[in-house]
Amino acid sequence: MLVIKNMSKSYDGKKKACNEVNLNIESGDIYGFVGHNGAGKTTLLKSIAGIIDFDEGDIHVDGKSIKTEPLDVKKMIAYIPDNPDVYESLTGIQYLDFIADVFAVSQDKRKELIEKYAVMFEIQDVLQNPIQSYSHGMKQKIVLISALIHEPKLMLLDEPFVGLDPKASFLLKEVFKEMVQKGAAIFFSTHVLEVVEKLCNKVAIIKQGKIVANGLTEKIISDQSLENIFMEIAKES
């Protein structure tokens, strides 16, 4: 599904934010991505989503390169940033309609999915209100719904659980499971290591732009906790 080959990116031409990253994410994977602040998590997620350019290597989604066929790749993915900054002048439903228009989601399909997820995340009553009147959590939910209404094959999420209430967090995890059952893949960054342990079948740890561990979560953890492993990796210079 997602193949990252020797991907490198530097913002200043000196220090590499991502350094020869290699990753392979398959359909059905819920892939956790952990690392300290400034390790390169957001840079990698943004590069996969085609938001920023990268210097070396390539990224393929379903065999298509984000460098040469960005529109085809973007049609298959959904990206959710760490901060839900969306068009505040639009109402919730106008924003969702806009995203559905971009992905050419049919009227019936968008109605079905918007209603399903709006009810699930309990924001159906505020869809006609301007987004500027929403709380942080409500904005997070509207961004989540916008990512789900075109049924992406690959979902990229940067700290998706920040700002969500416990019920919404639980529901989001259920949505992840439902999506991967249908053949999609999820790749998300988080600082909540317990979520990775319980939810992800695979995990990657990034340190100073390099992937220092990745693979099946149970193999990486072995008989330790992910927190211990993370701390050990952090200590190593």
Partner: protein
């Protein structure tokens, strides 16, 4: 923390060169050189044009022995700018400032915070007021004779005079914010209020106008009347013109006392309003949800419309050209004789009436510069467009279409009204319609390219993009450069071809000038987008 440190920090945060230009000087030398050249050109063009007009006015007034009236112009232009700035910005600067949550928990006295905000706002007003009144000041001291004491009195006056309107309008601005905060269409109501004020001012100015070549002479009567009834202007005028210490002390005493009282009371009010916040829970009608499928471009254009009408600042600044055009065209039906009088004098100077109309339309089109700022206004939301499967060129196209939708219908209706009012022949009207369309496309494409190369996504307040960004500046003055280019073309060809052919050539040249901009948007925007 000392007050000076606080002020310095806020000035840096609001007005640093990096914030203005959106890039680092040291890292972008070529861009810096281009920007410096553009700014020099703009300053020379602006100060040159207004400088000439006020110099000419000074000459007329000198012949009438009324040069002191130029001081009224300086005072009232300063007042006008102060009032509009305060009306638009005080709410966000003093009563509901965005960094309140950062500053409030710090061990800084609320009075110190308030005074620092006040100083920053005043510095901005003084800086722009000084630039605006520079041509008037120069003309006054040229025709009246320069003396140091008069100049010092003038500077003191220019510092003091904005204070009373500042106090009055800031309270009005707070009142409007409080009154409209519970209204669903608060932004539109604000917009109508602002436009009403502007139209009122223009109407007063126009209705007292006696037909002359220099449009500024029409404001003499109005400004003389205002000065008669508003004492501080009278004190200022007499202090500078007659070097009267007594009038200067009236001005100093009254303004300083009033301002100290204002600071004492309003500081507490500002602390209260910032604590309370403006956010009020509005009740929205719950209707049945409607789902509508639309083409992407239409969806993007619709988004642009929503953004435009949701921001008073955006709509007022980049839409004022079209509002003025409507007012002028409606006025042309009622003040036909006056306009014909002005035009006949210009025609007497070998300028065709059609050209005068085209210059007016050109300026108003230039003032509708949404493509020069709308990409920047995506700000923190840019990730949405970048992550979606939309070509960057399509995004830019939607911004151009939106600008054309703002310009073309209004320009066409206005032209037809002016055409009927001034009995312009049908062929000329048809050619002007075509020229306006092509020129609007040219300006919109040029503005879009400017914003592609000079974006400013990192801002605290939309004002930084709409009024203070390099792209906005270049967008407006770039149009003036295009107008000058077409003006030269008209001037050199007018001896050889008829006016109609001349206008068709201008249309063709405008069309040709579009080509490089369209090419950049089509071929380069994808790469540029990735670097944002």
């Amino acid at each position: 923390m000392k007050l000076t440190g606080l002020v310095r920090l806020q000035l840096k945060n609001n007005f640093s060169f990096k914030r203005f230009f959106g890039f680092d000087f040291k890292k972008n030398k070529a861009k810096t050189i281009l920007m410096v050249l553009a700014i020099l050109y703009a300053l020379v063009a602006l100060l040159g044009t207004f400088g000439y007009m006020f110099f000419d006015l000074g000459k007329i007034l000198s012949e009438m022995n009324q040069v002191h009236l130029l001081l009224n112009f300086a005072a009232i232009y300063g007042l006008g700018f102060t009032m509009f700035t305060v009306l638009l910005r005080t709410s966000g600067y003093l009563f509901y400032y965005k960094d309140y949550e950062i500053l409030a928990p710090l061990p800084i006295h609320t009075r110190k915070l308030f005074i620092s905000k006040l100083i920053v706002l005043l510095i901005m007003i003084y800086f722009v007021n000084f630039l605006i009144t520079l041509p008037m000041m120069f003309s006054y001291f040229y025709w009246n004779g320069f003396n140091i004491l008069g100049f010092v009195f003038y500077l003191v006056g220019i510092i003091l005079l904005p204070l009373v309107p500042f106090m009055f309008v800031s309270m009005m601005s707070l009142g409007i914010s409080l009154l409209t905060s519970k209204m669903r269409y608060a932004k539109i109501i604000n917009m109508i209020l602002m436009i009403g004020l502007l139209v009122g001012f223009l109407f007063l100015s126009f209705s007292m106008n006696s037909t002359t070549v220099n449009p500024l002479t029409g404001q003499i009567d109005l400004f003389s009347n205002i000065t008669k009834y508003y004492l501080p202007f009278k004190w200022f005028n007499q202090a500078v013109d007659e070097l009267s210490f007594l009038n200067l002390s009236y001005l100093l005493g009254s303004h300083i006392v009033l301002f100290l009282v204002y600071v004492f009371f309003v500081e507490k009010l500002a602390a209260f309003t910032n604590k309370r916040g403006i956010r009020t829970q509005l009740k929205y009608k719950q209707k049945t949800l409607k789902y509508q499928e639309k083409p992407v471009v239409l969806s993007l254009v619709e988004k642009e419309f929503k953004k435009f009408f949701s921001s008073t600042l955006y709509a007022l600044n980049s839409g004022i050209g079209m509002v003025l055009l409507v007012i002028m065209s409606v006025a042309s039906l009622f003040f036909k004789a006056d306009i014909e009088g002005i035009l006949s004098q210009q025609i007497g100077m070998n300028v065709d009436a059609e050209m005068m109309i085209l210059i007016i339309f050109g300026f108003t089109i230039g003032m509708t510069y949404t493509p020069a700022i709308s990409l920047s206004l995506e700000g923190k939301q840019l990730w949405v467009l970048k992550s979606l499967p939309i070509k960057p060129s399509t995004v830019m196209l939607s911004k151009i279409i939106f600008n054309l939708l703002l310009i073309v219908p209004i320009a066409y209706i206005s032209l037809i009204m002016i055409g009927i009012s001034l009995s312009i022949n049908l062929i000329s009207i048809l050619i002007i319609l075509l020229l306006i369309l092509v020129f609007a496309i040219l300006v919109s494409c040029m503005d879009a390219v400017i914003n592609l190369y000079l974006p400013k996504f990192d801002y605290n307040n939309e004002t930084e993009v709409i009024k203070q960004s390099a792209a906005a500046f270049l967008g407006i003055f770039g149009t003036f450069a295009l107008l000058i280019t077409l003006g030269f073309l008209y001037y050199f060809l007018s001896d050889y071809v008829s006016l109609e052919i001349n206008m068709l050539i201008m249309t063709l040249v405008s069309g040709i000038l579009c080509v490089p901009f369209v090419w950049i948007i089509k071929e380069k925007s994808e790469k540029i987008f990735l670097n944002f």
